[in-house]
């Protein structure tokens, strides 16, 4: 239950959405874009979020695409995680989002909503970070496309009144070997201790991590370390861990030191999955 009222709009176009936002903003209503709504509704109930108007983007056509267009996969921000998983056009994305929350929630949570969420795991962004995807962002100044590394730093960097429309991913990345591993405090339910997604690209292994710190990230130094083919796998992992420059979370899911222990093992599992043949031959020596 929310202790105060708010207005609800469901525009049919990007332009209409942006204009409603401006209008509401001018009226001092602190508008918010609304997609699956799971987070807005639950945080609002706890008074951890305040807005006088929400603008639902689910009726906007561009936010609902999920198709290959020329050499790119377009993923609409308003697609539910269930739909992403079921259509399975991007297996790494399917795998990663299939572990978010539970089925009932995934029927509502959207890819864009998860990426823009306040709950900081934002695991749906990991595959897009790994694939250097391009994001389409829209606002009252129109639409712009930007490489994810320019607009995602800890969180999506949106100007006031902007919203995420869709993600554009080069097809070749959707076909590369990948692994996505979620580790929890216990068993199969709950927020991640860590979620690590990895992709085996031509240049080497790419790794993006959620849950280790209070934002998801991809680290060039860590990837460089993990791809040091001159070193044994264990040394690469230790080197990568030593290069971590983020504060490690210490919370009800797990202590900081334990998270590092889990990360180390998870990286090892990623090597096993993506470089299993080499790993085996090294271990034999």
């Amino acid at each position: 239950m929310s202790s105060y009222n708010f207005e609800y709009y469901k525009p049919k176009s990007i332009e209409e959405a942006a204009s409603i936002f401006d209008q509401m903003d001018q009226q001092g209503k602190d508008p918010m874009y609304f997609s699956g709504g799971t987070e807005i509704i639950t945080l609002k109930r706890l008074n951890q979020l305040k807005t006088g108007a929400v603008i639902d983007i689910k009726a906007i056509q561009e936010c609902n695409v999920f198709e290959f267009h020329e050499d790119s996969l377009l993923t609409g921000a308003a697609l539910t995680l269930t739909k992403v998983e079921e259509l399975n056009l991007f297996p790494l994305l399917s795998q990663t989002v299939s572990e978010i929350a539970d089925k009932t929630a995934r029927n509502k949570i959207t890819a864009g909503g998860n990426i823009c969420g306040q709950i900081f795991y934002r695991e749906a962004v990991l595959p897009f970070l790994l694939t250097d995807s391009e994001l389409m962002i829209a606002g009252s100044d129109g639409r712009r496309n930007a490489p994810i590394k320019d607009v995602f730093n800890k969180q999506l960097l949106l100007n006031r009144g902007e919203f995420l429309v869709q993600m554009k991913t080069n097809r070749k990345y959707t076909e590369m070997p990948f692994v996505s591993i979620k580790r929890r405090r216990q068993w199969n339910t709950g927020y991640p201790l860590l979620t690590v997604a990895a992709l085996k690209a031509e240049q080497g292994i790419r790794v993006a991590i959620s849950g280790l710190t209070h934002f998801p990230f991809r680290s060039a130094q860590m990837e460089d370390a993990l791809n040091r083919t001159d070193l044994a796998f264990e040394k690469r992992i230790n080197l990568a861990l030593s290069l971590l420059d983020v504060p490690i979370l210490n919370d009800t899911e797990g202590s900081a030191r334990y998270r590092l222990f889990v990360l180390k093992n998870t990286l090892y599992d990623i090597f096993q999955e993506l470089e299993g043949d080499k790993l085996a031959s090294i271990e034999e020596h």
């Binding site: 239950m1 216990q186 068993w187 797990g254």
Partner: protein, 774 residues
């Protein structure tokens, strides 16, 4: 008739599976006002000020109620708890103020605007901290509190109660021991997390009658305690309880009803309702107690236990309420189900700045057994004896005495050796080692535990049943047992159908409790529903059978002794063709000329537990409960030696149930208990920060076991009749849970080759126990 043992579908099944069953919060009425709470943001703090000036300006707010010394103190053993905090708060989530408003949203808006200023006090996070010499005293006026029960608080301390168990001679016992093992154990408070959050409505009518509807396991206790606390004639308090969506002991204490009553009183008696949010249900409502334990067991080298020396420090939380009773029960069954001649145990209930304790399925037993059964496994290891064999050697049997010196007989204790033997067969215990390697990283491990429980309930607890008839000869069964999801009322119908030799479809069960028209069942707790109400049903059945035969004897001109009943008829034993239908008798018999005799038949029956006593304060000697159900437990898990993660594979339990009354119902109860035990053993616990705040007050972060995380469950029964139970049945509502935490801990301790003496058994805990290396 063969209704006993049949898996009769519960009477309320169709209402429940279609979502039409009604619970307390489902009862809406137009003129109801709504209550929201303001709760403490700290574990321990002085209340400097409560500013409600903004809240009062909200239109639609009818009343704001704050704590005051004018309000009575509440509590079932020691009256130590103000209904709304006064001067200071003692736990996170403690109610501070109530807002009554026209609509829930208005009440919430106003409650959010109430500003409470605190001055934090140092927080006591564990019983051992509470016992330190320099620990702050949580209840400075402990001795001045009124007592309703027989608690033994220690002045100027944080000790709410101590139960002393002294059996035999502990020094002698330890001297006789070739081997001793000792361990310390701990577990934190947790929640019941029932599906339905607590809810109550209250109305004070102009004639002074107080009407309360509540999601409670103890509507009759609500009536009595509200009467005591607020000095209202007990007959003027009418409590109704519809279906309850899970209780697990957490709805046996009285809290939300008091708040509803205060709110109604503040608005001139208008009907008000309060429904806890999930966060309030987890933190404000009474919870599952925590425990710190120290257990020492001495044994001969052959594995015959000589002595057990035990210290239990129950984390009772900020107020003592029912946790005093829980700590007493922990003393009563302080050891596992074993014959030990020399037992020394101090079981304390300690005040801390945690949410306060309440009954929780098992009533202290799963906590105590975790400590004791872990120690038993360490003893088995030290003696190099099979852990099940060690337990069988020491199993408690008829002729032995319990820690409170009750001499057991063939009826009053279950057959533990038979449970152990059946468990061995069921899980193939003899096959393979306790820890089997799967590959270089994974092992499959198995662990066991045993358990027992009696029910330490009030010595004068009773249960009543009324039977009325319908014109077609079918029977209405009215019992004070609350239907909390256990299908108890269906089983009562089976018991009645069996006794009356009728179809169970001919028994109509009244589900809702109304304390004005429903005969009392003390509380729907302690696995005593069927045990007591079943006996009351049998007594009531005998009463109506006698009345029916009395009528029939006159009409058929035969002796009552020559009559029998079955299938809705009363007939001559030697010539069943000479008979009368119930329908022609139960509302009076009308002769052809119109003359009538008899009138409607109403039956009643009751049952009171007999010869229970209080415990001797110095030795604990006494008869605390009627019978001891025994059980053996097994858990098998696949354990990853690198990650310290594990998957539950199989869980098994064999329990001496006395008699199976409803097979699938009983399996469901046991399996549900096992699942709950594994959930608490593996994951469920409150996490507190340094201010005593619960850091996981939502189901996002407080996570009971989910479907798919469960192992395969195997359940079987041993049947050693309890002569006093209906058709020989023993209590079984709680027993599925009792040994599960210990069995899982024993399994994982073997798998990880470490002493895992703390719950919950998360991979991180195991990693820490193994040295916390990176």
């Amino acid at each position: 008739m063969n209704i006993i043992g049949k898996s009769v579908i519960r009477k309320e099944a169709f209402d429940k599976v279609t979502g039409r069953a009604k619970y307390t919060a489902d009862e809406l009425s137009v003129n109801t006002l709504h209550v929201k709470m303001v709760t403490s943001a700290y574990g321990h703090a002085k209340i400097v000020s409560i500013d409600d000036s903004l809240a009062r300006q909200i239109s639609g707010v009818r009343a704001i109620i704050k704590g005051s010394h004018e309000l009575p103190l509440t509590g079932e053993e020691i009256r130590d708890r103000p209904p709304l905090a006064v001067d200071k708060v003692r736990y996170f989530g403690e109610p501070i103020a109530l807002v009554v408003a026209d609509r829930p949203a208005i009440a919430k808006q106003a409650a959010d605007l109430i500003q409470v200023k605190y001055e934090p006090l140092s927080v006591i996070q564990s019983p051992s901290e509470a016992l330190k010499a320099d620990a702050p005293i949580i209840h400075e006026n402990l001795l001045s509190y009124d007592k309703l029960g027989s608690a033994y608080p220690v002045p100027n301390s944080n000790i709410a109660n101590v139960t002393k168990i002294r059996k035999g001679n502990i020094d002698q016992g330890l001297k006789q021991s070739d081997v001793t093992v000792e361990g310390t154990y701990r577990l934190s408070p947790a929640s019941h997390a029932a599906m339905e959050t607590r809810s109550a409505a209250a109305e004070i009518k102009p004639d002074g009658y107080v009407h309360i509807t509540t999601s409670s396991q103890a509507p009759f206790m609500v009536k009595k305690l509200i009467s005591i606390y607020f000095k209202i004639d007990v007959g003027k308090i009418i409590v109704e309880t519809p279906f309850v969506g899970g209780g697990y002991g957490g709805k046996a204490p009285i809290q939300w009803e008091i708040l509803a009553y205060l709110a109604s009183k503040a608005v001139g008696g208008r009907r008000v309702t309060i429904t806890y949010t999930r966060e309030e249900d987890l933190t404000t409502a009474p919870c599952k107690v925590g425990l710190e334990a120290k257990v020492k067991i001495g044994s001969t080298k052959e594995g015959i236990i000589q002595a057990a020396e035990i210290l239990y420090l129950f984390d009772g939380g900020a107020y003592s309420d029912k946790s005093i009773d829980v700590s007493r029960a922990g003393g009563v069954d302080c050891i596992g189900p074993y014959n030990i001649e020399n037992v020394w145990c101090d079981s304390y209930c300690i005040y801390t700045n945690h949410p306060y304790g309440s009954p929780f399925r098992g009533f202290g037993h799963s906590e105590v057994l975790f400590a004791f059964e872990r120690t038993m496994d360490q003893l088995a290891g030290k003696l190099d004896i099979d852990p099940l064999e060690l337990r069988k050697k020491n199993a408690i049997l008829p002729g032995h005495t319990t820690p409170t010196q009750v001499l057991l007989n063939r009826s009053s204790v279950g057959n533990l050796p038979a449970c152990i033997e059946r468990l061995k067969e069921l899980v193939g215990w003899e096959e393979g080692k306790q820890v089997e390697e799967i590959d270089d990283r994974r092992v499959r491990a198995k662990g066991i535990a045993c358990g027992w429980k009696t029910s330490t309930i009030d010595t004068d607890a009773s249960s009543g049943v009324i039977l009325t008839f319908n014109p077609d000869g079918s029977i209405n069964l009215i019992s004070g047992v609350v239907e909390i999801g256990t299908a108890t009322k269906t089983v009562l119908a089976q018991i009645l159908a069996e006794k009356m030799k009728m179809e169970v479809e001919q028994i109509h069960v009244k589900m809702k409790i109304d304390t004005q028209t429903t005969p009392e069942h003390w509380k729907t707790v302690a696995s005593r529903g069927i045990y007591m109400a079943g006996r009351a049903v049998l007594a009531a059945a005998e009463d109506v059978i006698r009345q029916i035969k009395d009528m029939a004897a006159q009409i058929l001109r035969a002796s009552m002794r020559d009559l029998d009943i079955a299938n809705g008829k009363v007939f001559l034993r030697d010539d069943p063709n000479i008979s009368l239908d119930f329908k022609d008798i139960v509302y009076g018999y009308k002769f052809p000329n119109g003359h009538s005799i008899g009138g409607q038949i109403i039956g009643y029956g009751n049952y009171i537990l007999r010869r229970l006593t209080k415990l001797d304060p110095e030795t604990g000697a006494g008869q605390p409960g009627p019978e001891w159900t025994t059980a053996a437990y097994y858990v098998e898990a696949e354990f990853d030696k690198r990650d310290f993660t594990y998957r539950l594979q199989k869980a098994a339990m064999v329990v001496d149930i006395g008699q199976v009354l409803n097979r699938k119902g009983a399996i469901g109860q046991v399996m549900g208990g096992m699942s709950m035990g594994l959930s608490h053993a593996g994951r469920e616990t409150f996490v507190f920060d340094e201010l005593g705040r619960v850091m996981n007050p939502q189901l996002r972060t407080y996570r009971p076991i989910h479907y798919g995380e469960n192992p395969d469950y195997l359940v079987d029964f041993v049947k050693t009749p309890d002569i006093n139970g209906p058709y020989g049945a023993r209590g079984v509502g709680e027993h599925g849970l009792l040994g599960m935490p210990a069995a899982l801990a024993n399994c994982l301790s073997a798998a990880a080759d470490a002493n895992l003496n703390e719950l919950p058994l998360t991979p991180e805990l195991i990693w820490r126990s193994k040295g916390a290396e990176l």
